[in-house]
């Protein structure tokens, strides 16, 4: 078992090196090769289940796995410490991961269709913008972003409860478009020009200042990376615990068969309200953090197209599995940034990618495994 963990640790280290190269390289050839290597490795591990032993060993030690992940990302951060743009990309990926984990709770666990994810992300962003402009402490502004997003979600809760499938999709699409259109015509919230935000100032530590430690210096984005990583980890652990519990079981029952769920005493409305609210909370918090990191937000950051991106990440990663969201977010967010020539075509490519996945591998990159309530004890 120890050797399995050691191998897993080594794998994380290799992954960290891969991620560092993936984010920092300027060479299109190297980037493409890294993608090819990842695809081949993925195919190999899928085909031969070569990593099965190690994966299972790691699953029984979630704290160890989390530590490895954090160390790997810390290593990547160290390697990227003075490159602002790759760090910014990594932060963006992590924050989108948080939002998508929220969407996954809604759709993947509870079966609630939500095509307005960007609207809740944007609600958090605009809340942070308004609050920070009035001098509200930034930590509070970020949390408030989540809470306001959840409150705005409660406006939609009646439509979400009363509709299903196509109708729910329609209602959330309509809401998403309504949100960005409203922002655009409403001058009180900056109109199409948007709003500016200050950088985060957490208990006196100003994030937007390059770090100087001893003789070494690092881009100020390392601050945001620490915060984003903490949020992503927290969101991940939260979602995992929700899934591996009676609440997660109730969500699944509601998603798979409402009639049977109701017959056995599960409150359908209650489950949906909780799932929807938790998801929007995560979208709002990540949106608020993102806004403060970017320093500037505008209505066209939170359109229906962006909601489709969030949904695409969830689908590509494997609906119902928060772990898959990470590689999916890397693909969807980083690849177009690095391959600038496809940046313009990215919506077109996302659309084709998702259609191909739905036609040929609908379970996504990492299909959701069977529920294992307490993997720590199945060693």
């Amino acid at each position: 078992m120890r050797s399995h963990i050691a191998v897993a640790a080594a794998a994380f280290a290799v992954g960290g090196v891969w991620l560092w190269a993936f984010l920092s390289t300027d060479s299109v050839w190297l980037f493409a090769s890294l993608i090819v290597v990842a695809v081949l490795a993925f195919a190999f591990f899928q085909r031969f289940d070569a990593a099965g032993r190690y994966r299972r060993a790691l699953a029984t030690r979630p704290r160890r796995a989390a530590l490895f992940a954090v160390l790997a990302v810390a290593g990547v951060a160290g390697g990227l410490r003075d490159q602002a743009y790759p760090l910014l990309m990594l932060c963006t990926v992590l924050l989108f991961v948080v939002a998508c984990i929220g969407l996954n709770i809604q759709t993947g666990y509870c079966g609630i269709v939500n095509f307005a994810g960007a609207a809740f992300f944007g609600t958090g962003a605009y809340t942070a913008a308004v609050l920070s402009a009035h001098g509200v402490p930034h930590l509070f502004a970020i949390v408030a972003g989540g809470i306001v997003a959840a409150l705005v979600g409660s406006l939609l809760i009646l439509p979400v409860l009363r509709t299903r499938g196509y109708y729910a999709a329609l209602v959330t699409i309509a809401f998403g478009i309504l949100f960005s259109t409203f922002l655009e015509v409403n001058s009180a919230l900056g109109g199409p020009q948007g709003l500016k935000l200050p950088g985060i100032d957490l208990f006196g530590w100003r994030f937007n200042r390059d770090i100087q430690l001893g003789g070494a210096s690092a881009s100020f984005y390392v601050n945001y990376l620490v915060l984003s990583l903490a949020l992503a980890l927290a969101a991940f652990v939260f979602a995992r615990r929700v899934e591996r519990s009676w609440l997660g079981l109730a969500f699944d029952a509601v998603r798979l068969d409402e009639t049977a769920a109701a017959t056995f005493g599960i409150g359908i409305a209650r489950a949906k309200i909780i799932a929807f609210t938790l998801g929007n909370l995560l979208c709002g918090i990540s949106g608020a953090t993102y806004a403060m990191m970017q320093g500037f937000i505008a209505p066209n950051n939170f359109t229906f197209g962006e909601s489709l991106i969030l949904v695409s990440i969830v689908i590509l990663g494997g609906i119902g599995n928060p772990l898959g969201i990470v590689p999916a977010a890397l693909v969807i967010i980083v690849v177009p940034q690095k391959l600038q020539f496809i940046q313009e075509y990215r919506f077109l490519l996302y659309g084709c990618l998702v259609i191909l996945i739905l036609l040929f591998r609908p379970e996504g990159l990492l299909p959701r495994p069977l529920r294992n309530y307490f993997p720590e004890s199945s060693a």
């Binding site: 009363r162 209602v171 309509a174 015509v185 919506f347 659309g351 259609i355 739905l358």
Partner: protein, 306 residues
């Protein structure tokens, strides 16, 4: 309000209603025959409008300028091109996924809509900007007080209604329409009676999409402008209109289309906010109506049997 202005609003509303109705009928046909919502349908309207635009420009470049001929060729091009697109969508995207969860089909067609939008935006010359649509119909108009009755608007109105009536006739009075209705009611029995299920689905999608293509032409000729993202609004409202009228009912779809147009028109007149909020209002109405009557104003689905 001045009667002329009121008449103008009413006429605009009528025109909008016809366009919405044409889109809604497509949604209701697809749902009836395959229990599927083709979320890219609004963008098919947009694509039809652009095909029409490109055709008219091509004809112009070829020096063909006989107005009646140009209009007919353009309309046919849009209709036929979209019919083909509709059949392809059915054949390669919708039919293969009919055993999969409905969510997958929903997503696939949503993404398809996004793809159509992007294709036009990226590959049509200057696609990200609004395109002026040529005036192919006679520009005769008559002033009745403050109301300007344009001949081309009347022609479009009549054409729109005529195409809807024609589709309705095809569905209600022809043998093939009978096959469509049979499949819509019970596809297994229809199959065992010898009806070619796939062919019915393909042709239904072709008909609905052709109707959308013509709607695109009507849109372009009326507003004299098309844009790559008109499909989203049309799709959302067209779908809502079909739902409100009861999915599967053609009359309901028509009613729903005019209902939404009426609501939008009344909203833009009555509300004391700028016209920029028109769309916000329209979408808010969609949400409210769907919440109030998730199964439509007309048809009430029976409760689920265990």
């Amino acid at each position: 309000m001045d009667p002329g202005v009121a008449a103008q609003y009413a006429f605009n509303g009528l025109m909008l209603g016809v366009i919405y109705a044409m889109v809604a009928v497509g949604f209701t046909l697809f749902f009836g025959v395959l229990d599927v919502i083709q979320f890219a349908h609004g963008d098919v309207v947009m694509a039809g409008a652009f095909v029409a635009l490109a055709t008219s420009l091509a004809l112009h470049a070829l020096g063909i300028a006989v107005p009646a001929l140009v209009v007919i060729v353009v309309a046919c091009a849009a209709g036929l091109a979209m019919a083909l697109v509709g059949a392809l969508i059915a054949r390669y995207l919708v039919l293969p996924l009919r055993a999969a969860p409905a969510f997958n089909t929903l997503l696939v067609t949503l993404m398809l809509g996004s793809i159509l939008r992007e294709l036009v935006r990226l590959f049509y010359p200057n696609g990200s900007n609004p395109q002026p649509f040529p005036r192919l119909l006679p520009t005769v108009s008559k002033n009745l007080g403050n109301f300007t009755l344009r001949l081309d608007s009347v022609i479009l109105l009549v054409t729109g209604i005529a195409t809807i009536v024609m589709v309705n006739l095809v569905v209600r009075r022809t043998r093939f329409g009978l096959a469509i209705r049979a499949v819509a009611q019970d596809s297994d029995t229809a199959r065992s009676m010898g009806i070619d299920f796939e062919r019915v689905v393909l042709v239904t999608f072709a008909i609905g999409s052709a109707l959308a293509g013509i709607a695109g032409v009507v849109y372009g000729l009326y507003y004299n402008e098309v844009n790559f993202d008109i499909g989203l609004l049309l799709g959302v409202i067209g779908f809502s209109a079909a739902v409100v009228g009861g999915l599967g009912s053609i009359y309901g779809a028509i009613l729903g289309g005019f209902l939404f147009a009426a609501l939008q028109t009344i909203g833009s007149v009555a509300l004391p906010v700028s016209s920029a909020y028109n769309n916000v209002f329209a979408f808010a109405v969609v949400i409210i109506l769907m919440t109030w009557k998730p199964t439509g104003l007309i048809a009430e689905r029976p409760s689920e049997r265990a």
